[in-house]
Symmetry: C2
Subunit: 274 residues, 2 copies
């Protein structure tokens, strides 16, 4: 989880107040952004950080980082042992505020685990955030001990099966606008990088109700996704099954995985409010 | 995930700098604390919030909440639709910074899922934070669609099996000090609420290497926990299996679940650094 530059403050909003009071001061935004950047500078490669290390990783001054870390310590989000700061489990409450707000998430978890068991393949759920998909659930197939893409991690939407399902669900004009502005980088020699071709694929996905990606994200990876719709038909998330093409080719994915995946999506959707 | 008052700023620390520079200004702490409180005011019962609702839930002024929400919007952590603010999946990155920093977490997930499948019971992992345990992993048994305690949620350590394992692992003097200061509230008529009795139970847990809780947290709930130790023997977390006493009594838990639970703890511990 590397530190990234926070997105620039978006312009005016329509919250119904005057422009004057709506624009938060730069210093507040900056101070909050820095605090969050320090939180995010911890990770798999840096479970503990000294002041100097945290300053290096965030690009902030040592004095600035010190103030932030001690603020975080005061709030119970980091703990200090000797000269090493580490995150406390209280940090989890922040991330799970998001999951708790998704009415379908707790229903999806056991159903997705059942699906992983039945198919002996990894399954996942994701939502769209800008041009990326963000994993909200990951159920690894048990024998695969390789890199697990954790909850909260991101992949480009244009070359992932769940991303295609989520992009396909957008209204046509928004879909065209987004694809035109998107960085359609190639991840393999098979990645669709032409915007017109991608729009054509997305129309097919919308018509069929599912998307299959065969080695467009990564060589040796095939994956099949379907949308989760609420009872009014609005797409709220996507779920997928992934495998290796030498184990299951496109036809096998469609014949052996699609019916079960659609059934799970249906069951999750049934609990959603209209 | 209800809003809570942030913990008071802890006093001096030993980060090796002078007291003057170590104490963050109250305004910084407050502004950061308020920002996090607003993030946490969203939840299962409030997936979207208007300004007025957010002000009510946090106890902050409408103007203060507006500034924070627009800051969060600028940073990409909340989105505005009409008059409704909602969290974006970017919030997940914050919580998962903690999990990514736990070297055993990704190894534990598939092993715990295997355990849930084998035993047909829910399994979990937790760490100690103050007097609480905090769930870091939850694998619900597939047929139980009841309330799932999500990752990040808390329970009192004194009357949970994982809490007892984690308290038992503390050095004796710290254990005594902590138990003396603890709120030993009764959750059922069977909860151990006497500090001396609890210390005695914790000594037994430490000697045996596992803890069993039979309806002390909740009527109809029995659970068995063991520690995860790194290769130097330090306890880093606890894992448990939970069931209903009418399904498996204490003897059945010990005979049918303990060996498998200990084997999983051992396998997780093997990947930990010394």
């Amino acid at each position: 989880m590397a530190t990234r530059t926070p997105a620039p403050l978006s312009a005016a909003s329509d919250a119904g107040a005057d422009a004057e009071t709506l624009r938060p001061s730069d210093s507040h935004v900056q101070s909050f952004a820095r605090g969050l950047a320090v939180l995010r500078s911890f990770g798999a490669d840096a479970p503990t950080l000294t002041l100097t290390q945290a300053a290096e990783r965030t690009g902030l001054t040592r004095a600035g980082v010190r103030r932030i870390l001690l603020t975080l310590q005061g709030l119970g989000y980091v703990a200090l042992e000797g000269r090493d700061f580490r995150l406390t489990p209280k940090v989890l409450e922040l991330g799970f505020a998001y999951l708790a707000a998704q009415p379908w998430w707790h229903v999806a978890q056991p159903l997705m685990e059942e699906l992983t068991q039945t198919l002996h393949e990894s399954t996942s759920a994701a939502v769209l955030d800008g041009d990326d998909i963000v994993y909200v659930l990951r159920v690894p197939a048990h024998k695969i001990m390789s890199i697990n893409l954790g909850v909260g991690s991101r992949l480009p939407a244009h070359c992932t099966s769940m991303g295609r399902v989520l992009l396909a669900a957008l209204p046509e004009d928004e879909r065209e606008r987004r694809v035109a502005a998107m960085d359609l980088g190639a991840r393999t020699s098979r990645t669709v990088t032409d915007p017109d071709k991608l729009l054509q694929v997305l129309s097919q996905v919308r018509r069929k109700g599912w998307a299959l990606i065969n080695e467009e994200l990564e060589v040796g990876l095939i994956s099949l996704a379907v949308p989760i719709c609420d009872r009014s038909g609005r797409v709220v998330a996507a779920i997928n099954v992934s495998s290796q093409p030498q184990r299951r080719n496109a036809t096998a994915m469609q014949e052996q995985c699609l019916p079960a995946l659609l059934a799970v999506a249906q069951r999750i959707g049934e609990v959603l409010p209209r």
